[in-house]
């Protein structure tokens, strides 16, 4: 498991916030790289504040039934070298991830959630890829449900296959901004479908 990480992951001081400002900046960006690569390698869209990748629906069920999610393997804990990132430093890493646009709170409206969608590709790249899907599948000018786009058979093999819907909608923003996409909402205001022109 640890071998899937870059060598710096086994470097004990990586887990202590470095006092030297120049090093600290590098250190935070090292953590960001590690998180993005990890999520990508695990085919995961979500990570908890504590650093566990997780299927969002599983998490919901755990919280609903036990009140708290169960303990999971965390990227911030390295048992091989017995080091762990302290909470305050996690805050700092998440703050930077969010401000860099590489993570957003899963509670997109309130931004209160302690779970994050992770963008191991940036939003623009996802948007281009989605556009490419519409072109390849000749779905341009057709109404396509978000479900179809993220879970449908025609998306199998595409990198965004399985992407949670709110994240997908977030990734459509660049297309909306360029007036290439229109969103369709149901009576509750929830986005259910999309048309790309």
């Amino acid at each position: 498991m640890a071998s899937a990480f870059p060598p710096v992951y086994s470097f004990p001081p990586l887990y202590t916030p470095q006092p030297n400002a120049l090093i600290r900046e590098q250190q935070v960006s090292t953590w960001i790289d590690i998180i993005l690569q990890y999520c990508k390698s695990k085919d995961s869209w979500c990570m908890t504040f504590e650093g566990s990748v997780i299927d969002l629906s599983t998490l919901m069920i755990e919280i609903a039934t036990q009140g708290i999610p169960k303990e999971r393997e965390s990227i911030f804990k390295n048992n091989d070298i017995q080091r762990a990132v302290p909470q305050s430093f996690m805050e700092e890493i998440w703050k930077k991830l969010v401000s860099d646009g590489k993570a957003i709170s899963t509670d997109i409206k309130t931004k209160n959630s302690r779970t994050f969608y992770i963008f191991w590709k940036n939003v623009d790249s996802w948007a281009s890829l989605i556009l490419q899907w519409f072109e390849t599948t000749t779905k341009l000018n057709q109404v396509v449900t978000v479900y179809e786009l993220t879970q449908g058979d025609e998306s199998i093999g595409w990198e965004f296959y399985g992407m949670p819907e709110p994240m997908m909608i977030h990734c459509l923003k660049p297309l909306l901004a360029r007036n290439r996409a229109t969103l369709m909402k149901d009576e509750m205001g929830k986005v259910v479908a999309i048309k790309v022109v």
Partner: protein, 179 residues
């Protein structure tokens, strides 16, 4: 010698069998490269300053792939011949008796003034903060080395004093001691 194509920025060493001519040609090319590469800095900051080491990497990467890299020594000789060739906007200067830089007139003084201003405004800044302030509009890595040297120069001349903390070296204007 250099006028088959217009305008030919790239010099192909295979065409030159005479070393002096080659050095002259790359001198012009380096000069033009540096001038155009740092046009923005020149306009915005009123000066250009880059260490020869960094310029060596940039110049070869940008201009010499495909025609043959120049050697560090050739680069140095070329820069040393600027004046003789009437290329006067950039000069070789050695900062702190240790780092060779290519700079425009008074570049060291201009950058010093800017840095001291930043430090007066934000006493206790460290290298990263100073370079971010200095490069607010363009984040160019190459300047870090120059900034370090300029800071060292300010310390040697007593304009700045340091506060050594684990966060790094924090710089202050020397307010209390005579130079």
């Amino acid at each position: 010698m250099n006028s088959k194509q217009v305008p030919s920025l790239i010099v192909d060493r295979d065409k030159f069998y005479n070393k002096n001519i080659f050095i002259e040609e790359i001198a012009r090319e380096i000069y033009e490269f540096a001038t155009s590469e740092f046009k923005d800095e020149q306009q915005r900051e009123g000066c250009v300053m880059i260490s020869l080491v960094d310029l060596y990497a940039m110049y070869n990467k940008a201009m010499r792939i495909g025609v043959g890299f120049v050697s560090p020594l050739e680069m140095r000789e070329a820069c040393e011949s600027f004046e003789r060739l009437g290329l006067t906007k950039l000069k070789l200067t050695k900062i702190n008796q240790r780092i060779l830089c290519l700079g425009s007139d008074n570049a060291l003084e201009i950058i010093k003034t800017k840095i001291v201003q930043i430090i007066e405004q934000f006493p206790g800044s460290h290298l990263l903060q100073i370079s971010k302030k200095l490069n607010e509009y363009s984040q160019s890595d190459w300047t870090i080395g120059v900034i370090t040297e300029v800071l060292q120069n300010c310390i040697d001349s007593g304009i700045l004093v340091v506060d050594e903390q684990l966060t790094g070296i924090l710089y202050y204007k020397n307010l209390f001691w005579h130079i």
